[in-house]
């Protein structure tokens, strides 16, 4: 019985909560659904594998919401995709990489995603993230491993004009990261207008 449910019955640590703007501050926080993720490591990667570009600059993300690849280091990528792609994607990548030494590790259950959007999203993130999230320093299409308070995260800014961020953290940090973002939204909203007066 469980077998049938294997792909769909994932018990996500943050549940499947709807999008929320807890502080009514224009900062929308939404835990992502069940997604597949892979940690790809390879040196001298070449241009692409399984249609995923590998030649983007370090700290950038390519693709769309349903299939993205973030380059976190010179030989490290984090790949996200729909669950439906989970079974064939690793083998497709491996096939394209051929003889090149590499490692593809399924980390779908290790990572938890939280989407943060809204005009003040960066302000909320900056409550815990020490990076410069201004448009010049962290434009759409940026992605990096960094910190949010005392948790390590991967921060992705989706391509496009509107501020939309994905925060990826390890499973057991999800409660902390989610609560910190909610607290940050309260701390950011009302006073940001005061700041701008």
């Amino acid at each position: 019985m469980l077998e049938a449910l294997y792909r769909t019955a994932r018990a996500l640590p943050l549940g499947r909560a709807p999008a929320s703007d807890p502080a009514r501050s224009g900062i929308v926080i939404q835990p992502a659904g069940a997604e597949a993720r892979f940690a790809l490591r390879v040196r001298d990667a070449g241009a692409s594998a399984a249609g995923l570009p590998l030649d983007g600059p370090i700290n950038s993300v390519r693709g769309n919401d349903r299939r993205w690849i973030a380059r976190l280091g010179p030989d490290e990528w984090l790949i996200g995709s729909d669950e439906s792609e989970a079974d064939h994607l690793p083998s497709a990548i491996a096939a394209d990489l051929g003889e090149r030494a590499h490692s593809i590790v399924d980390v779908s259950h290790r990572n938890v995603g939280i989407d943060v959007s809204g005009p003040l999203a960066a302000v909320a993130l900056n409550a815990g993230c020490p990076l410069d999230l201004g448009d010049a320093a962290f434009p759409p299409g940026s992605a990096t491993r960094t910190l949010l308070g005392k948790a390590e995260i991967v921060l992705i800014r989706h391509p496009g004009g509107a501020p939309r961020y994905r925060v990826e953290c390890w499973r057991s940090f999800a409660t902390y990261v989610h609560a910190l973002l909610a607290e940050a939204a309260i701390g950011a909203g009302s006073t940001e207008q005061a700041v701008r007066r």
Partner: protein, 994 residues
């Protein structure tokens, strides 16, 4: 009439919006825009506190953050009581309760004031001199006395209910201070389009422009320039203007910390944070923090009603408050003349006393005389009359030699004093910039920069308004990478003063109380005494006398203290140097520093996918690193002892289920994976078959054990490595370090899978029977799936890496499943196990069961100084390997020497006695103290399966002592124990292969 000292017009207060707060229970009325200090003064209240050491009556000295005396407790409701708020910076608002400090039974009648009469006793270094002997007095007399007398104000008794926020921010130009120089700098920087943050500690930007009511800038009133400038800054998207925000710390690489007071001035804060810490990383910093006025040092210069001259001007002009009706200004410089002119214009009776001779004065003298004010040049101040409020100032003519003429008492109810100005170089000094003494200005000015910053305006010794604006503009432009300049015209500012350290007097200097540091109650006499007693370094004088310490950080006191020391030593000021300014510039609440990191957000609390199930089944939890792990599962009425005894027995006799998800896991992948493992671990890996496991032991290069764990070979080029719970990040970092920096040629990649795989440990004779119906694709028979094997298949339809391993000595499986399915699989096993009496167990039982088998735990049996041989694991080492991390160190002389502590078992003579972990071990309890310690107990439990207590210990040459007696400390004395092999249960290890 309420507010009898409120002037009928003027000020930036809003007279249509009255506010009411209390001071020591008495209702005080003021207006929106008042500070607590200005509202108190509007009501004629000058006595607001008792001084720290002598309990002298104290009033309001200043209008700003340099206020050393008017320190109030502010009560904003339950849990919201803050001591030591400066009345001059707390904004008056409805509902505030303020209280004076440091007196009993009341502010007016304070028993502690006897200290003032005893003042000859409380000289510099009083504590060091007095509390020396007799030694037995220390505990019973001195310490209670010091504790009772120490500190100022009362700490709040309940938790702070407020919210505090944190924000990291980046900008191209950070401007500190929104006075004329800072505003001008921000304007110049903002016009380049660069990102600008402008922070000012006051509720309203403007600095001196807020009270300089007669100044003009570019032909129009300064107030108009101010509003136009603020409007422009406001309209720019690239500018963040932060009022009520103090830059309090200047750290490395232009990291500047700001404290923003968000809601204290609001009657109801709502959900908004009380304060926000801004951690700003600035490309360039412009410091425009202004300057501090120096008090004059004369006898009883601390009487309530004696203010700084510029502060009198601020109260009159900005707040529309008369600090007195008859004001005497005492000065050695020009700026007090501006204050006198404004006070006179406000209709107050004014006299001015100037230490300078007529010829030393500038145009200010004629202006003041023309306004009809009596000016006494060439006069010194001998002292003040009055106790709880100044009633007169004793002045006398003084000649060039310092001889004083006939005394004259100028009756007054307020004194405005000015000994010149000190640039606020605190942040510059914090940035590690070097100060340079400027003799013309008698001030330490910013000299050599250490970071990307520049100063402008009064903080750089530039006091003229037009010059401040020009300098600020140039600084802001340059900070933004532009060379634009702009010239301003403005009314000339009255500047210049004659430095004076202590006013000339004909009084007996040993009887005079002339304060240098008002906050710490340090007098000129104290500083002179310290120098006479041999404290010649200014840093030593500071600590011995406490001058310039605490929150004051030398704002009002620094130059006078330095000058007195220089005079005593017959040195120049730069010869004496200056003390180091330390952050914070002004006090910062703990809440601001802590921010949201409280309660659940203090540290991440890591939980496993099984956590909620354990909660639902009554588990108690313990913290292991950041993890919260199920400790034991008591049934109703059971204590720890009973529950653990039951759990232990269940595992040995039936089957237990345990959540081992927190174990660290690393996927080691690549063609050189086995070679890498060979170099990192002491064990051999090249020949480990796919599908087999090995217990791995890892050393640091110094030969001491770093971590351990079971490793399975998943494929020829893939290992599933496990680590200890707490060691996971350490081990991954250790491996990455070697891989990247020592062996970059190895084709190996590491990925943490700690949280990808949840681990369900099923242990006990019936473990196989429980999972047999749930597992597909794996032959579970002992022949096909022996101990230390790993198989992949499915359990309940979920993919699993199934390990046959055991940390209990029983038949056991560790079932790795993807985390999001772990609870479903756990519950399926739980269901299937019911007929076998399945029992959940926690970490305590896990510890007991492994100790019964003599298995070590990293961090318990090891402490970073333990080798494999020390814990009896030398057999793990692959002797044939030429090298691995730590191998060479195992041949170091002190590692191969005899006398090393070795792991042994201990059994007590009294089987019921459970030894304390950490207890020391000796061979002869009768030996004289200090005894020779042989080692310590590392693990100790009641073992239900052995029916007695068991313990493990590290003992010098312990293995040779087997069978012999030793003695272990207990709270009741020594307990006799016998040294045994550390395997207490099933020594032949037969059960594990069942």
């Amino acid at each position: 009439m309420a507010q009898p000292f409120r002037l009928s017009r003027g000020g930036r207060i809003d007279r249509t919006r009255p506010v009411r707060f209390t001071f020591n229970g008495r209702t005080v009325e003021g207006f929106h825009g008042d500070s607590v200090a200005s509202a108190l003064l509007a009501n004629g209240i000058h006595l607001v506190g008792r001084s720290f050491k002598y309990h002298r009556p104290r009033g309001i000295l200043s209008h700003g953050p340099d206020e050393p005396s008017a320190l109030l407790s502010v009560d904003r409701g339950p849990g919201r009581i803050d001591p030591n708020n400066r009345a001059s910076v707390v904004e008056a608002r409805d509902g505030l309760k303020t209280l004076s400090q440091n007196h009993w039974p009341s502010l007016e009648h304070d028993i502690g004031a006897v200290n003032d009469l005893l003042s000859p006793v409380f000289v510099a270094g009083f504590y060091y001199k007095t509390f020396m002997w007799p030694r037995k007095f220390w505990d019973k007399v001195y310490e209670p006395f010091i504790r009772a007398a120490a500190g100022l104000g009362k700490a709040p008794a309940v938790a702070d209910p407020d919210r505090y926020a944190n924000r990291h921010a980046h900008c191209d130009v950070l401007v500190v201070g929104a006075g004329p120089a800072g505003l001008s700098a921000a304007l110049a920087a903002a016009r380049t389009g660069k990102r600008v943050i402008l922070a000012d500690e006051g509720p309203e930007p403007g600095g001196a422009l807020l009270h300089d009511v007669t100044a003009e800038i570019d032909g129009r009133p300064a107030a108009e320039w101010l509003s136009a400038t603020l409007a422009e800054l406001d309209s720019r998207e690239n500018v963040i203007l932060l009022p009520r925000t103090t830059a309090f710390g200047y750290y490395n690489h232009n990291h500047v910390a700001l404290a923003e007071r968000v809601t204290d001035h609001l009657p109801s804060p709502g959900t908004a944070p009380r304060e926000r810490l801004w951690q700003v990383r600035a490309g360039e910093v412009v410091l425009a923090g202004g300057s501090h006025e120096r008090p004059l040092v004369f006898a009883d210069n601390d009487r309530p009603g004696i203010l700084l001259a510029e502060s009198v001007r601020v109260f009159v002009n900005r707040y529309g408050v008369a600090p007195g009706r008859r004001i005497v200004f005492a000065t050695s410089g020009a700026s007090a003349y501006a204050a006198a002119l404004d006070a006179k214009a406000a209709g107050l009776a004014v006299t001015l006393v100037d230490l300078r001779t007529e010829s030393e004065c500038g145009p200010e003298l004629a202006r003041l005389k023309a306004a009809g004010v009596e000016v006494l040049t060439g006069h010194t101040v001998i002292g003040a009359k009055g106790t709880k409020r100044v009633t007169g100032l004793i002045v006398a003519p003084v000649d060039r030699a310092g001889r004083c003429g006939a005394h004259r008492v100028l009756e007054c109810d307020c004194v405005g004093m000015s000994g010149g100005w000190t640039p606020a170089v605190h942040l510059f000094s914090q940035s590690r910039g070097k100060l340079a003494y400027d003799e013309r200005l008698d001030a330490f000015l910013p000299g050599t920069s250490a970071q990307a910053e520049r100063s402008a305006g009064a903080s750089k010794g530039t006091y003229d308004l037009a010059a401040c604006l020009q300098e600020g503009f140039a600084a802001g432009a340059a900070a933004a990478g532009s060379d634009e300049r702009k010239s301003f015209t403005a009314s000339p500012t009255l500047t210049g003063f004659k430095p004076v350290r202590a006013m000339p007097t004909d009084a007996d200097p040993t009887k005079v109380r002339a304060f240098v540091d008002f906050q710490n109650d340090v007098t000129a006499k104290d500083i002179k005494l310290a120098v006479r007693e041999g404290f010649h370094s200014i840093e030593h004088v500071k600590r011995y006398t406490t001058t310039g310490m605490a929150t004051d950080q030398g704002k009002t006191s620094n130059m006078n203290a330095l000058g007195i020391v220089a005079g005593q030593l017959d040195k120049t000021l730069p010869g004496v140097g200056t003390t180091t300014f330390r952050p914070p510039y002004t006090p910062v609440t703990f809440g601001t520093l802590v921010g949201p990191a409280r309660h659940a957000l203090f540290d991440p609390i890591r939980t496993t996918p099984i956590h909620e199930w354990a909660e639902e089944h009554g588990a108690l939890f313990e913290n292991v690193a950041l993890w919260r792990r199920a400790w034991y599962f008591p049934k109703s009425g059971e204590d720890l002892h009973a529950a653990v005894a039951r759990e232990c027995e269940a595992v040995r006799k039936g089957v237990g289920i345990f959540d081992a998800s927190t174990l660290g896991k690393i996927e080691v992948v690549g063609p050189d994976a086995a070679e890498f493992m060979n170099r990192i671990y002491v064990n051999p890996w090249l020949k480990l078959e796919v599908g087999r496991c090995r217990y791995g032991l890892m050393l640091k290069e110094d030969g001491y054990i770093l971590d351990d764990g079971v490793v399975a070979r998943i494929a020829p080029d893939c290992f599933h490595v496990t680590t200890t719970t707490g060691g996971a990040p350490r081990v991954l970092a250790h491996m990455e370090d070697y891989l990247q920096t020592e062996w970059p040629d190895l084709k190996v990649f590491l990925t943490s899978t700690t949280e990808q795989w949840a681990v369900i440990a099923l242990q006990g004779p019936k473990a196989r029977a429980v999972i047999a119906p749930l597992v597909d694709g794996i032959d579970l028979s002992p022949e096909a799936f022996p101990h230390m094997a790993m198989r992949q298949g499915t359990i309940c339809g979920v993919p699993t890496r199934l390990f046959r391993v055991s940390f209990t000595g029983e038949l056991g499986f560790e079932i790795n499943v993807p985390s999001d399915h772990a609870r479903a699989v756990w519950e399926a096993i739980w269901e299937a196990g019911q007929q076998h009496g399945i029992t959940p167990y926690g970490t305590e039982t896990m510890h007991v069961l492994r100790a019964e088998k003599g298995y070590i735990i990293i961090g318990q049996e090891t402490d970073g100084t333990v080798t494999p041989d020390d814990v009896g694991l030398a057999g793990m080492i692959a002797k044939a390997k030429k090298d691995f991390v730590g191998k060479r160190s195992l041949a170091r002389p002190d590692v191969v020497a005899t006398g090393r502590k070795q792991l042994v078992g201990l059994v007590t003579d009294d089987p019921k006695l459970v030894l304390d972990e950490g207890a020391q071990i000796v061979d002869d309890p009768a030996q004289p103290i200090p005894m020779r310690m042989l080692g310590h107990v590392t693990s100790s439990y009641w073992s239900p399966n052995c029916g007695r207590s068991i313990a493990m210990a590290l003992v010098a040459d312990g293995r040779a002592l087997q069978g012999g007696p030793l003695h272990v400390t207990t709270p009741e004395g020594f307990a006799r124990v016998t040294v045994v092999d550390p395997v207490f249960f099933d020594p032949k290890g037969e059960r594990i292969h069942a």
